[in-house]
């Protein structure tokens, strides 16, 4: 197949560049250009070096280019709020990696098929991408009353954006556990650990369930881990479900692919991997039409 859907990435930071390298291997998406509003962007130099068009005029630089069908936004919530209407008017599908939440939350392994017609898709948070699938899997077989997740990431992999808006992270992640994971109530905790060498992203998922069927829960969790692993190869079940009354504990480790970012930053890798998975679903649908 030589037909690919053209896409652009806004924001050549850590996330944007990691996504660019991932998409350069895609069978369905061709990275047409990477956009920054900063002409001196260091990231754009890396973009050029890889033979991809670097646009330094901000989002305006791709508006009107009808070849570009999909736009990944890896800037900030505030910037995406400004970009979203421009992209929608230009008939571009926006895949939003910021916490702006203009469009619905999408977790590829859980609800992508419900949202393929949307023009704006939000990728929740890294903690949400890692843990919501497990909550959804358990909810399917055991009805989750309460889901609580703890995401522990290496200090080095938490950029200034995450640090300045840590409340947004916990609030958005908790909402994702309810809206996509199906829990009645949700809570999220994030911990930064500065250890050297940096630790690989760890996530613990606690659920309180109504129908405790240990076998069904274990099976559902294992199946879900395999499903996520398809698009996040470093997604691993570290400790199988532990049962304690009606509490179920699941522990995950997420190692990055090391495309652009170091392997310990599984928190960033799962965001770019999930965004790529969503982008490819959207692209495949376009190609089928």
């Amino acid at each position: 197949m030589n037909n690919k859907v053209k896409a652009a990435i806004i924001g050549p930071g850590n996330i944007g560049l990691d996504l660019m390298f991932k998409l350069m291997r895609s069978d369905y998406i061709e990275v047409d250009s990477v956009v920054s509003a900063n002409p001196n962007s260091k990231g754009l130099k890396i973009v050029r070096k890889n033979g991809i068009t670097a646009i330094d005029k901000g989002v305006e630089g791709i508006i009107g280019n009808k070849d570009i069908k999909i736009v990944f936004d890896a800037t900030s919530a505030r910037a995406h709020q400004a970009h979203a209407p421009l992209l929608a008017d230009d008939n571009k599908i926006a895949i939003d990696l910021t916490p702006a939440a203009v469009g619905p939350y999408v977790i590829p392994a859980v609800n992508i098929n419900q949202h393929l017609d949307e023009t704006n898709i939000n990728m929740v948070t890294c903690g949400g991408q890692a843990t919501t699938p497990i909550v959804a899997a358990i909810n399917e077989v055991a009805d989750v009353e309460y889901a609580e997740i703890v995401a522990t990431i290496a200090s080095l992999s938490a950029g200034p954006g995450t640090r300045a808006s840590i409340d947004e992270f916990t609030e958005t992640t908790a909402r994702g556990l309810v809206e996509v994971g199906g829990a009645d109530r949700g809570k999220a905790i994030i911990i930064l650990n500065p250890a050297e060498p940096p630790l690989i992203m760890r996530d613990t998922v606690y659920t309180q369930v109504k129908n405790l069927d240990k076998e069904a829960i274990t099976l559902a969790v294992e199946k879900m881990v395999a499903k996520v692993k398809k698009y996040v190869p470093g997604y691993t079940l570290k400790v199988p479900p532990i049962f304690d009354g009606n509490k179920v504990t699941v522990m995950l480790e997420i190692e990055g692919a090391g495309d652009y970012l170091p392997k310990y930053s599984g928190n960033l890798d799962i965001m770019t991997s999930a965004a790529k998975a969503v982008g490819e679903e959207v692209a495949m649908r376009m190609l089928r039409k």
Binding site: E171, L192, P194
Partner: protein, 335 residues
């Protein structure tokens, strides 16, 4: 005139660890009333892991933060009501709720290398007219220069005080002196010190901190707190009085609160046992104690091995989930 030292009593916050966050509203009200009448300057009330800490990860509290604050705010007449908030666990919403119930002091607690995740909370507390304290936990894990660097982040964010916090009770007097002196020299804010007694150094370290310039110190009645607990407030007050410092606290009255009100509410004596000593020695977060003891039971391993391994893995405050992970790994090794 004797030099004034501020005493912050954390019986109703750090002490929550020791009762697995199960104080009743009545317990809290009785203790708070006693502390207030004894003349304690500041009374801290929160889940052990701060506002929003009620969870599977840290243990569910008997009541909500809001219920506790509402109850305590009714009995405090002179003391300032203080709350603890760990960014990543609690959010600005908790601070706003606490302010509604008259909290006048917000301690924003981060790991000693991560102060920047608390900038927004310091700013929010100040905007609401609260006193904001930047609380640098696990200060033993880094060199004094790093503590200074992080204290400056809180200072720039608008904090009123900087606290150097020995969450693991791992510092010796020399380590306390180096950190307090370095911060004192570099920062234009008053400094506080929070001790744990895992190596029987809480009072000694606190005196050292004061000698090096600290002007606010923490205690809990009977030392009730995470791991082997803290400086007992009643002992601290007596020692400081003997040393010629003025705390504003009535020595007899605080002894009465400790012995007559707090003791009957304790689940276990706060003492240095093999597990809490291991916490101090290995330098791990004090509140891991009861979680490690439960995991040791469940997985049939020694709690000390779990705690020691938590230190080897360089865990920080809040990583209670890793205790189960470590216990699980140790139990598999033993098979």
């Amino acid at each position: 005139m004797n030099k004034k030292i501020r005493v912050i009593d954390s019986t109703l916050r750090d002490g929550m660890h020791a009762v697995s966050h199960q104080f009743s509203l009545d317990d809290m009200m009785q203790i708070a009333e006693g502390l207030d009448q004894a003349g304690v300057d500041t009374i801290e009330v929160s889940h052990g892991d701060g506002l929003g800490g009620s969870s599977f990860q840290y243990g569910f509290a008997r009541h909500t933060d809001e219920e506790y604050l509402k109850a305590v705010s009714q009995v405090i007449k002179n003391a300032k009501l203080d709350v603890l908030l760990l960014p990543g666990i609690g959010t600005h919403k908790h601070l706003e709720m606490a302010a509604k119930y008259g909290a006048k002091v917000a301690r924003i607690a981060t790991h000693v290398t991560e102060a920047d995740i608390g900038i927004q909370h310091i700013e929010i507390a100040k905007k609401m007219g609260m006193e904001a304290i930047g609380f640098l936990m696990m200060a033993h894990m880094v060199e004094p220069e790093k503590v200074v660097e992080q204290a400056k982040i809180f200072e720039e964010a608008g904090a009123d005080w900087i606290y150097v916090t020995d969450s693991a009770g791992a510092l010796t007097p020399e380590g306390v002196a180096a950190r307090i002196k370095a911060v004192k020299k570099a920062i234009n804010l008053p400094i506080g010190f929070h001790a744990h007694n895992n190596m029987a150094l809480a009072i000694g370290n606190t005196l050292k901190a004061i000698e090096c310039g600290a002007e606010s110190v923490d205690g809990t009645c009977k030392g009730i707190g995470a791991a082997a607990g803290n400086s007992p407030t009643e002992v601290l007050v007596s020692v400081l009085k003997k040393e010629g410092y003025e705390t504003g606290v009535d020595a007899y009255k605080i002894m009465d609160v400790a012995d007559d009100i707090v003791v009957p509410k304790m689940h276990r004596p706060n003492m240095i046992d093999k597990n809490s000593l291991t916490i101090g020695y290995a330098g791990v977060y004090g509140s891991f104690l009861l979680h490690a003891m439960r995991a040791a039971d469940k997985f049939g391993v020694d709690a000390r091995d779990i705690l020691y391994e938590m230190g080897q893995r360089k865990t920080v405050g809040g990583q209670e989930d890793m205790i189960v992970d470590v216990a699980y790994a140790l139990s598999n090794q033993n098979k």
